[in-house]
């Protein structure tokens, strides 16, 4: 191995300390080192969203982040969305119920992205379609157009978008 660094990450609540190739991106660390293959590689270039996971609660394209720069971070992948009893996350249930996927390859990224998007809206982050009636910092109400806009970093070639929007709408508190 070339230059490498000892890196500690907490992934889905478990701490891992690994010697990581400095070139390795978070996506490959999850997939190759931890066998968390729920994070998918669609493009390796930040263009598809299949690799979306949560780092310290915010959604990221894990193919664009060098793992060694994330020392001390908390990472949540699709494998970590279920409850402690293994009960699937309400969003996972909604995806099943709505048939919000076909091949399933974009799905873990869609799920993590949706969890992140819901948190961003709750924290008052506006999007390109947020109306002027929403005060900066106030929770943004999520309708279909907000969901579409916020989920547009996650490509689905199977074209499940309408069902994805419905599934996300189903879990809006």
């Amino acid at each position: 191995m070339g230059p490498a660094s000892r890196t500690t990450l907490t992934v889905n609540g478990r701490e891992h300390t690994l010697t990581v190739d400095n070139r390795r991106v978070l996506l490959d660390l999850l997939r190759e080192d931890l066998d968390l293959i729920g994070a998918k590689k669609g493009c390796d270039h930040g263009q598809c969203g299949a690799c979306t996971v949560l780092v310290d609660g915010r959604r990221v394209n894990s193919c664009l982040l060098l793992a060694v720069t994330l020392d001390g971070s908390e990472v949540t992948t699709v494998e970590g969305l279920a409850g402690p009893d293994g009960e699937p996350h309400p969003l996972q249930r909604a995806f099943l119920e709505r048939d919000a996927f076909q091949c399933g390859y974009c799905t873990p990224g869609q799920l993590c992205s949706a969890v992140g998007a819901l948190a961003e809206a709750a924290a008052g982050h506006p999007s390109a379609v947020t109306g002027p009636g929403v005060r900066a910092g106030d929770p943004v109400p999520l309708g279909a157009s907000e969901i579409r806009e916020r989920m547009s970093g996650n490509l689905c070639r199977c074209g499940a978008y309408p069902r994805i929007v419905e599934a996300v709408e189903d879990v809006i508190p």
Binding site: M1, G2, D21, R23, R24, D28, R31, E32, D35, L36, I37, G38, A39, K40, K41, G42, C43, D44, H45, Q47, C48, A50, T77, V78, E79, L81, A82, P88, Q92, F95, L96, E97, D99, F101, Q102, C103, G104, Y105, C106, T107, P108, L111, I147, R148, E149, M151, S152, G153, N154, L155, C156, R157, C158, G159, A160, Y161, P162, R163, I164, V165
Partner: protein
């Protein structure tokens, strides 16, 4: 003991759904084989020529690099049926992006660095990649894709056109398009100590992959196993084996290690097929009541020097409408381009874009409603073959769609609906897709504990095949669905055709139905407990499934679109898409809807965002990644509705479906294009309708139609 929720027609949730939403479903390069290495391809930088020399020394010196395969040291393979698979066998470079070396390394990073360090020297030759409608070297192929004759002619199409009172003579262009499934083409391969080859391959059908590998590596088929338990989409591009599985197998043989190879996204356009560009000329001559007298559809397209593949885009005109005089012909030019192949509804998709756009132009020329024009030209027998349709409910789809869409309220005048800077319009197009079916085998076993195992090498590329076949089996067995285990996606299972041509469910379902029906009959007369390993029945539909039918069998549909055109920015938004289909029996409404809608979304992409360009200087595609090639995103897709008409067609197969994976895309782009014309009063005849082109088109509008 029939179990209602398991029966055919029930909207069951996908059997593997929970695995997919929890991230447990493993795809082709996610099987952790001990000692695995990773591979990365090096692709040709010239569009035509030869590799003179490969200097791998720097790559081999990089830490972690295990080997560099080139045409000089790679295993020699027997010639495959598909010459695009003969990788690293000689120095010839037939097009830019052809694989010229493969680096194998301990890690992905090392493989990628190694690939960057391989130094290839080429002898470049002149290349010729530009398709034009009048290329003198374009020829009429004997057969286009699907075995369709390159040319069909009836009556006197030119004479009938010349004498028709109403005529449309027009040309359309569809650019190259890329499948881009979200999972790239990927394989993991290993050789066992006893000389067997095992692969996990992202494929639409591993029976064919196994045959191909056995041929190329000189093995009996029993010595090769190929698995595809979960496949991240394919849309035709994984319908045949691709270089990834051959390269991974060679690399594994060369290094003695299991090797995983996922083709980089940027290499897919050159290596896994594409929808070839099609240049269309369509002539429709009609009587003043709208009945078509003459239909001429001439298509010019490209193929590579490696293999002849001809997008059969003139074929829909042989089926769709009354046309006593017709000519439907393909011309193809062999260029120094990558080899085109299947992309969702090859032939029908670009062909119906052209034909259905021309129908809209004919309706305009006649001053007739475009739905009525299609109704007037409906036919009971297929124009080309003279065979009666086994069932044809195009008119019902048009009528039902018109009702649901609110077509009756439409003001036929173009450019009449303006709100601020946005002009809104609506359009319609028909869709068709042939009923294809292939022989398949399957087995069904009853176990002493009351459960069943049904096995066939079907592939679930996202269609819900596992779920629907479970329904077919449960119904035939008279068993609850949860008593039936489905085993698919493994070439050691009873052999089965690929998931393609919208034929999977019909082909596999036929064999599953037959095996389960036989087993049920046997169980009905069986006395006493079952033997330890149960009772098993097999089915093989060779000779029945592929028997010639005396009916023309096609699915039909109607698409309606509403678009808004921003006259300042040139942006086109599809506000509503509505499709109504007549595709035989719908076996699972939940998964069927997803297939129809998915097809329509891809059609929306074809209409508005997707387009690739052959770069004349470099010879490959200019749009090679997902930042340059724009597949639709969530925000592009507003309301998409799919509906269907139940069809009871006795001339199909025991499960009664016509196939639904492709028809959703077929008429969508034409419906959107026709809606665009209705919105602004300008006809665009080249896809996609991107803002730059739209603004140009708006600038061409005649002044009396108002300001742009």
């Amino acid at each position: 003991m029939a179990d209602a929720p398991a029966a055919l027609g029930a909207p069951l949730i996908r059997r593997e759904g929970l695995e997919k939403v929890t991230g447990r479903a493993r795809y082709a390069v996610e099987h952790r084989l001990p000692g695995s290495a990773h591979a990365w391809p090096v692709t040709a930088r010239v569009a035509s020529g030869r590799v003179l020399r490969v200097d791998a020394s720097a790559a081999l010196a990089a830490p972690g690099v295990l080997a560099v395969l080139t045409h000089e040291n790679a295993p020699r393979l027997a010639e495959p049926d598909d010459p695009t698979l003969a990788v690293l066998q000689d120095a010839h470079v037939p097009h830019r992006g052809w694989v010229v070396a493969l680096v194998v390394a301990e890690t992905l990073e090392a493989a990628r660095e190694g690939a960057g360090a391989v130094d290839v020297e080429y002898l470049a030759e002149d290349h010729d990649v530009l398709l034009t409608p009048d290329r003198p070297d374009a020829y009429v192929p004997e057969k286009a894709n699907g075995g369709h004759p390159g040319l069909r002619e009836h009556g006197d199409p030119d004479g009938a056109f010349a004498s028709a009172p109403v005529r449309v003579d027009t040309a359309y262009r569809v650019p190259p398009l890329h499948n881009h499934p979200m999972e790239p083409h990927a394989s993991t391969a290993r050789w066992t100590d006893d000389g067997r080859l095992e692969a996990y391959c992202s494929s639409q059908g591993t029976t064919k992959v196994r045959q191909t590998l056995a041929t190329m590596f000189g093995l009996p088929e029993e010595s090769v196993t190929v698995r595809a338990e979960h496949v991240g989409g394919g849309f035709g591009s994984k319908g045949t084996p691709r270089p990834d599985v051959v390269l991974a197998s060679m690399a594994a043989l060369h290094t003695g290690r299991p090797v995983a190879l996922a083709l980089p996204r940027r290499d897919l356009p050159q290596l896994v097929g594409h929808r070839a560009p099609t240049l269309h000329r369509v002539r429709l001559g009609a009587d003043s009541d709208g009945r078509i007298r003459s239909l001429v559809h001439e298509v010019t397209t490209h193929t590579s020097r490696v293999r002849e593949f001809v997008e059969q885009a003139a074929v829909p005109g042989r089926t769709m409408y009354t046309s006593p005089h017709s000519r439907t012909v393909h011309r193809v030019a062999r260029l120094d381009v990558a080899t085109p192949s299947w992309m969702r509804a090859p032939g029908e998709t670009p062909g119906m874009y052209a034909l259905e756009s021309a129908m809209d132009e004919l309706a305009e020329a006649l001053g007739m409603d475009p739905v009525e024009l299609r109704v007037v030209n409906d036919c009971r027998t297929e124009p080309d073959t003279g065979k009666p349709f086994s069932s044809r409910h195009l008119v019902e789809c048009l009528r039902e769609g018109a009702r649901r869409f609110g077509w009756a309220e439409r003001d036929p005048r173009p450019g009449a609906r303006r709100a601020g800077q946005v002009l809104t319009g609506t359009g319609v197009a028909s869709a068709t897709y042939p009923v294809l079916v292939s022989p398949s085998t399957a087995s069904a076993r009853a176990l002493p504990d009351g459960t069943f195992v049904v096995r066939t090498n079907a592939t679930d590329i996202g269609t819900g095949a596992r779920t629907v076949l479970g329904q077919v089996a449960a119904e035939a067995l008279g068993a609850a669905g949860d008593r039936v285990r489905m085993e698919i996606g493994d070439s050691d299972l009873p052999s089965a055709p690929l998931a393609g041509g919208s034929s999977g469910t019909a082909s596999w379902g036929w064999a599953v139905h037959e095996a389960c029906t036989r087993l049920a009959r046997r169980l009905a007369v069986h006395r006493g407990p079952l033997p330890q390993d149960g009772l098993e029945e097999h089915a093989d539909t060779a000779g029945t499934a592929d028997a010639e039918s005396d009916h023309a069998r096609h699915a039909f549909g109607a698409h309606f679109a509403e678009v808004g055109v921003d006259t300042v920015t040139g942006e086109v938004r599809v506000n509503r898409l509505l499709g109504v289909y007549a595709a035989g029996r719908i076996l699972n409404p939940r998964t069927a809807r997803s297939q129809f809608v998915g097809g329509m979304v891809m059609g929306l992409g074809m209409a508005l965002t997707e387009g690739s360009t052959v770069d004349p200087a470099f010879g490959d595609f200019a749009e090679r990644d997902l930042a340059a090639y724009h597949v639709p995103v969530n925000a592009d897709v507003l309301s998409v509705e799919a509906h269907w008409i139940e069809e009871d067609d006795p001339h199909l197969n025991p499960v009664g479906g016509k196939g639904i994976g492709e028809i959703g895309i077929v008429g969508t782009a034409a419906a959107v294009g026709n809606a665009f014309h209705h919105a602004v009063g300008v006809r665009m005849r080249e896809l996609p309708l991107t803002p730059d082109r739209v603004l140009d088109a708006l600038a061409r509008r005649s002044p009396e139609r108002g300001r742009a």
